[in-house]
Symmetry: C2
Subunit: 269 residues, 2 copies
């Protein structure tokens, strides 16, 4: 066991959505220290250009590497879709986990008819990253992607069961349902909060929640690299954000599923 085992896992997102991944990591890997960065001053990324997303993402990775993380978890589909390769180059030998790889592999294990749907931000859909990740394993899988830009603001407004959200989901799922996909990847960390409503609107489709599959992939990668923390001490969690807006605590805790403490503000760029 090397000195690195006690080092934290670095998890990052454009905002608070990545806290759903932190939550899954806390449950799956209860002894690991975690440092989180959410770029709340510049959120959302999903409607911005590839160059801008890449530039912002590399600033975050630089910040996390200054915290001597032992692994990086890209907890934002948009960042993973656009900047994964550059992040891997910066990370060197360090394991880099991506919500997209984890989600793609989980969907491939789930599908029976080899027909997978993806809902995500416009930038993630346009990047074609899920299709690439899935086709790398099985080139014969059919994939239908749908940009769903309104779901993030609906979740942030807290309208998780609202009629407006139901109609929006229904509209977005129309092509998915018409095309008989049997497995739907929730390609944005905000979407797991809409699972109850989506299950009602698409009862015959299996939903892939990449926060859970990313936590599992992280556990496997750390184990494989002999980097699991064997300490039985209480883990240390640190949360950095580039802005602390109104209602941040409320929204953040909804994603994390527990109280948010030790938040520090840090402006990048």
């Amino acid at each position: 066991m090397s000195q690195s085992n006690h080092k934290p896992i670095g998890v990052f997102d454009s905002g608070v959505g990545g806290l759903t991944v932190v939550r899954a990591l806390m449950e799956r890997l209860p002894h690991e220290n975690i440092v989180y960065f959410g770029d709340t001053a510049r959120v959302p990324y999903g409607t911005k250009s590839r160059n801008t997303i890449e530039e912002f993402s590399l600033q975050i990775v630089d910040f996390l590497m200054q915290h001597e993380v032992k692994a990086l978890v890209i907890a934002c589909n948009t960042i993973a879709a656009v900047a994964y390769k550059r992040i891997q180059q910066m990370a060197g030998n360090m394991p880099v986990l991506s919500v997209i790889d984890a989600g793609a592999q989980a969907a491939l294990k789930t599908t029976q008819n080899n027909h997978i749907g993806v809902i995500a931000t416009s930038t993630t859909v346009n990047s074609n990253a899920y299709a690439r990740a899935i086709h790398a394993h099985n080139p014969d899988t059919r994939i239908l992607s749908q940009a769903t830009p309104l779901l993030v603001p609906l979740v942030e407004e807290g309208w998780l069961e609202h009629e407006v959200t139901r109609l929006t989901v229904r509209e977005y799922l129309k092509p998915i349902l018409a095309d008989h996909v049997d497995t739907l990847i929730l390609g944005c960390t905000h979407f797991p909060l809409l699972k109850p409503l989506m299950k009602q609107e698409a009862p015959n489709i299996e939903l892939v929640d990449s926060s859970i599959t990313t936590a599992e992939a992280t556990a496997q990668a750390l184990s494989h690299a002999n980097l699991l923390n064997q300490s039985q001490q209480m883990p240390d969690y640190r949360f950095y954000v580039s802005d602390i807006p109104l209602r941040f605590q409320t929204i953040g805790e909804r994603f994390l599923g527990r109280s948010l403490e030790q938040i520090e503000m840090m402006r990048l760029g």
Copy 2:
């Protein structure tokens, strides 16, 4: 007439919404040169903290002052709500126009029952800026403010007539209608695109579109300061943005009402 008359008017916003104000300025003041800055890399501001909004806004003003503008038009309600005073300090003797002041004065002229509603972003509503601007002229006016965070993404999705948008507007207008306001300020530059739908949902309420009133206020301020451009040459329009995302052209032209040319990218901060 001084040397300053040929200088451009500086107009700015957190993103593309301020182009509705540019459009109104082009119509009201067809001989004026205009330089626009939209902070598309960090949009939206309306859900961010006051400190962050102020910091970003002053960076924009600094950029516009380097372009030797003769007047500043704050074409973003959130910026006007939070950073107006600091911007005025930076601007020195230069006229500074604000969509909030213009909207407040137009609403006061419109209301018959002295009961005004405001719909705006969360930050604008929480700043209480409209109430302050209205009460400075008439302390007896009753004001009902409602944060409507979903309307910006609905407009950007282009769902201007969609059933989902109608239900969302209906939900947000419930307290406004119940309280019998007779005049509603559209306190965000995205909202004028929803005027047709809002007129159907609130047929007895007068809607105040601050882009038009801001253009009028700008014309008066320039005239008063003897700064109107007397040149009959074709005016020069320059558009700077901090990011050029997918569909920028489409969305921008929807707001501007004409083709968008001479767009340059400029990162601040």
